[in-house]
């Protein structure tokens, strides 16, 4: 178990390095010479050259990469071109709404998708099964912002049950927090839910035809016991895998959802940064999200051993 965990953690290091290399190259090949911009219009080529040397821009690519990597490790992501604030500071300010949205979405979609998939597998071939599967196909065929606008139009504009836009911090009370965040979470979670419900159904169909399930049935275990205790644990490995892989859709979707519902989170920061071509901010956000994604999938790999102690890679 420990050896497996250490091996998995070591294996993520090259992946993170490649991500970092890509993100760094982004700024390296970005159009516009930072030295020329700082020097201004009146500068002579010699001035530009001096500024370039003082910024360290004249050094080789790899030297600059490891320099940059070292400062990132220490928590320095550079300075925004537009606001002149440290990128790490800007990210800190925006992290709460995004984190809240993700946690709520994850909770909602997991608590809906897994029972949906289990019931569909149990009632295999009936209209319940078909209804769940159709919902799933619709779920990942509809872009997040389409669902977002549809929900906002029906439940916020027409029915007036929820606010149309905005975000309230959890420190101002749980109820206003949830009231603001429930529509974005549902919009964002639908794709994720569809993915998980599909894989849950498929794996459960496999597990339910196993001998130990028949044995459990024969010794008189109730339907619920068979489904949620005997079978679900054995179906867990593919399900958590999809939960990990699908996290990418959640991150991409958050960027869009925050624009639709005017949530001042990291997604909005990304969109604003793109429109202003604020490369250090884009860099910081892409690096942060990718590292979160890698860590989530590392966590998934480590969870495997909890669900299936036989796994020893």
């Amino acid at each position: 178990m420990l050896a497996y965990a250490i091996r998995r953690i070591v294996a993520t290091i090259p992946v993170v390095l490649i991500v970092a290399l890509f993100v760094f190259s982004l700024l390296y090949i970005a159009p516009g010479d930072p030295a020329a911009i700082i020097a201004g219009d009146q500068a002579t080529p010699a001035d530009v050259e001096r500024i370039r040397a003082s910024l360290g821009l004249d050094r080789p690519f790899l030297v600059r990469f490891f320099d940059w990597l070292w400062s990132v490790v220490r928590g320095d992501l550079g300075t925004s071109i537009f606001t002149n604030l440290p990128v790490s500071h800007m990210i800190q300010q925006r992290i709460e709404p995004t984190l809240s949205l993700m946690v709520l979405t994850l909770t909602l979609s997991l608590s809906c998708a897994i029972p949906m998939g289990v019931i569909a597998a149990w009632k295999h071939g009936t209209w319940i099964d078909r209804a769940v599967m159709m919902t799933a196909v619709f779920g990942f065929s509809t872009p997040v912002f389409v669902i977002g606008y549809l929900l906002a139009y029906v439940f916020a504009l027409r029915l007036d049950w929820f606010p149309v836009q905005g975000f309230t911090s959890i420190s101002q009370g749980l109820f206003p927090f949830l009231r603001n965040l429930i529509l974005p979470a549902v919009a964002l979670g639908l794709v994720y839910m569809a993915l998980i419900a599909r894989i849950t159904r498929a794996t459960m169909l496999d597990v339910l035809s196993q001998d130990y399930v028949r044995t459990a049935k024969a010794k008189g275990v109730g339907q619920r016991g068979i489904l949620f205790i005997h079978s679900l644990k054995n179906a867990a490995v593919p399900i958590v895998t999809i939960v990990g892989i699908g996290f990418a859709a959640l991150i991409g979707g958050a960027v869009v959802t925050e624009s639709v519902f005017a949530i001042p989170g990291l997604g909005r920061l990304t969109v604003d940064a793109i429109l202003r071509r604020d490369y250090p901010v884009i860099q910081g956000v892409v690096l942060l999200f990718s590292c979160v994604y890698v860590l989530v999938n590392l966590g998934v790999d480590l969870l495997y051993t909890v669900f299936d102690p036989r796994i020893r890679y």
Binding site: V15, V19, P143, F145, L150, Y153, G252, V255, V256, S290
Partner: protein
Amino acid sequence: MSTTVQAGDFTAAPTLPDVLPTPKERGKIGGFIYRHPTIVVGGTLVTLMILIAIFAPFLGTKDPTSLAPARRTREPSALYWFGTDMLGRDVYSRVLYGARVSLLVGFSVATCAGIIGTTLGLIAGFTRAFDAVVMRVMDGLMSIPPILLAIALMALTRASVKNVIIAISVAEFPRVCRLVRGVVLSLREQPYVEAAIASGTRVPVIIWKHILPNTLAPLMVQATFICASAMITEATLSFIGAGTPPIVPSWGNIMAEGRALWQVKPYIVFFPAIFLSITVLSVNLLGDGLRDALDPRLAKRL
């Protein structure tokens, strides 16, 4: 004590009704529709969208780019079927032209990502030296969420349909590469490939004649799903302002322009949204159906 049997001792067994129903006679086409309903539904809708894209200039009622501030934000009517947007452009005509952008991006990305991914996957699967390096790079690329990767690439370049296709292809091809490599690794162990190697067939011939044909089925299914996800990514990029240039009437752009007014004029956002969702849904249905038809083991499960 004669045991002769007389004719009257026997009663003829009653003719039983056929328990098994006679197999229903279906023509070739009827049988196909019955067995693969998702291919038929998905395929029909995709064909319809392709026709709309091709004949957009004839189906459209107005020039999609002509501005007319005097008649802006009209509600849908007999004259403007889907209404007009903030600049007075006909939303119906723009949505028809939007089908062109969406399908072009979807198909191009599926083709580009398919070709690049297959080539790299074949190389990685066949040469040990490349395998470790290529797959680590793929792992790295795959750990950047696809939309973020496309956003980052679009931030570097000018907004154009070509650049959108390149950016989304880069974000999608590692998945193809990994799929093809997996197939190659399992095919390499097959007796007929070993036989080909033993009989001295050159590697390019083995790849072309024995490996490639066997990767086509999973590849086609994957390409369909990439096409669907590329169309969503394109719309998303355009929607947040990092996609096709605003002058191009893509569904994402129409929605982005309708955003400011959506609380009062929701139709500007909803018409392109409906078209986008139907197109993606039909491509996904087609992919589901293809997978079921090409991989019968999975057919009853997913």
